[in-house]
Amino acid sequence: MAELIRLESLRVVYSQKVVLDGLDLTVAPGEFVTVCGQTGCGKSTMLRLILGSEQPAAGKVLIDGVQLPRPDRNRGYVPQKYSLFPDKTVLENITFGPETEEFGLLGRLTPKFFKRREEFRAEARRLLQQMGLQQADAEKYPDQLSGGMQQRVAIAQALIMRPKILLMDEAFSALDPGTRSEMQKLVRNLWRETGTTVLFVTHNIAEAIYLGTRVVVLGKESPETPARVTLDLAVPEDCRTETGYPRREDLERMMKQVEDAALGGKLELEMAEFAG
């Protein structure tokens, strides 16, 4: 099986406290991996290691077999907050990636840049539409949009780069339930259409099972011990009903499994209600 991401016995230490130790994980291209766990179990840390914005104290992060020193254009990122540039319009936010990739600071002054920019804008507008935004929103600034709209733009901004991996860190946690489930549907459809590998960190169990083809649970026995993978659960596509969720009995079993695996499930894991 081809592997896109390989984590090898990762160890992360924050001010003498071991957060992760001996973490191994491989992700194949096209998978939708959701990472679940209680607050402080290191799931966001794991995401940042794959992203490259943080380096492990020991162990290796291999993307397509290579260790990468810092984040790059192959790994798209959608954080919970500050996901858009506040000083740029929606359209400028989306075209920022392709523009900077092709043209440096001085390259922006060449005539070719203005020609290419029109093409980028056309593609950005197409993506906007795909994300369910109005064309009128294109000229707005991020703080004129609702939280859900902002995250739609942030996803478009990441997807225009066609990254190998899309990393989403609690991307929907600040949204209200209605918007949140719309966004979940959107992301699932986008994943189906584009085939991008997605790694999605959440503390909402129902969200993890709904979105993922695979749910990875990080847990720890006590606050002092490092976290480890306590469950690696495949969610087969064929057990899903037309709502997108697995059949009721499967779902309940899976949620129970995830909850148990998170060990401190009673701590701060969101047992979200779901439609069904």
């Binding site: 254009r73 000083d87 920022f96 900077t100 600071l105």
Partner: protein, 284 residues
């Protein structure tokens, strides 16, 4: 009822309250002036309106230096008179120094930005500038006069020493305060270090940097005036210091108000420009 934290003064009351001190101050002044002029019609300490009008027209319409009086002064156009006037020449001289000082703030902003973005540059400069910032600029004025002479350079250096550390440190802190997510996002969108520094961070902090410069305008003027009062042959503060010797209150007061008006206009222009240039910016 009136003195409550949740009081809602009506329009008329609010208007009266906010203008009261102006009216009281102006009336107090002219009342003092009036009583003093009753005793001594030539009183120069508290000039009345007529004296000030005279001082103002002299400043605006009379040539700056007595020895340069031209024979055809009577036939000169008003514009030409203004161009040759004391006030015009002083304003231009001060404005020149002010503009040079403002231009020198641009490298200060860029240095602060690079210190904030590149840890190596930050480590190199930060401690030194923190130290430099604690030096009272006026206390090194004698050193500046000795080192740079008493001409323009020492006056500009005084402003630079007094204001740039604040601007550098402010920009440094502002660029540090941009959320890490934005920088990581930049990398994932294929941006290189300088693109991140200039197109993500600088662009985002620019309105705050401009506000910080606005707050420091008074400091710039303060150092400019200190330099001009101590060693200069022209400039607004030079004139104020000079006229003090002649008790020229009828010119000093209009000058003080003129300087306040100029500073207000600069600040106002910067505020409007800031808003126009950064429509996305919301004051936090």
């Amino acid at each position: 009822m009136l003195f409550r934290v949740d009081a809602k003064p009506g329009r008329a009351l609010a208007w009266t309250l906010s203008w009261f001190l102006f009216i009281a101050g102006i009336s107090g002044y002219f009342w003092t002036s009036h009583t003093r002029h009753l005793e001594n019609p030539e009183d120069k300490v508290v000039p009345n309106l007529a004296q000030m009008a005279q001082g103002w027209t002299d400043a605006v319409l009379k040539p700056a230096e007595d020895d340069e009086v031209q024979a055809d002064a009577a036939t000169q156009s008003v514009m030409l008179k203004i161009r040759n006037s004391m006030l015009w020449k002083d304003t231009v001289a001060s404005a020149k120094r002010f503009l040079i000082a403002m231009l020198l703030l641009i490298p200060a902003v860029l240095l602060g930005l690079h210190m904030g973005m590149f840890p190596v540059i930050g480590e190199f400069f930060l401690r030194f500038i923190l130290f430099f910032d604690k030096i009272i600029a006026l206390s090194v004025l004698p050193i500046l006069f000795i080192a740079f002479g008493i001409d323009e350079l020492s006056k500009i250096m005084l402003i630079v020493i007094g204001v740039t550390p604040t601007i550098i440190l402010d920009t440094f802190n502002l660029s540090k305060s941009v959320p890490q997510e934005q920088i990581v996002k930049g990398f994932t969108l294929g941006a290189k270090d300088f693109t991140i520094a200039y197109r993500i961070v600088l662009k985002q902090i620019m309105p705050r940097v401009l506000n910080s410069v606005r707050l420091n305008l008074k400091a710039v003027m303060l150092f400019l005036f200190a330099g001009e009062m101590i060693a200069s042959q022209d400039g607004l503060a030079f004139r104020i210091a000079l006229l003090r010797r002649h008790m020229g209150m009828n010119t000093i007061i209009p000058y003080v108000l003129w300087v306040a008006l100029l500073l207000f206009l600069v600040d106002f222009t910067m505020r409007v420009a800031n808003k126009k240039l950064h429509p996305w910016f919301r004051e936090a």
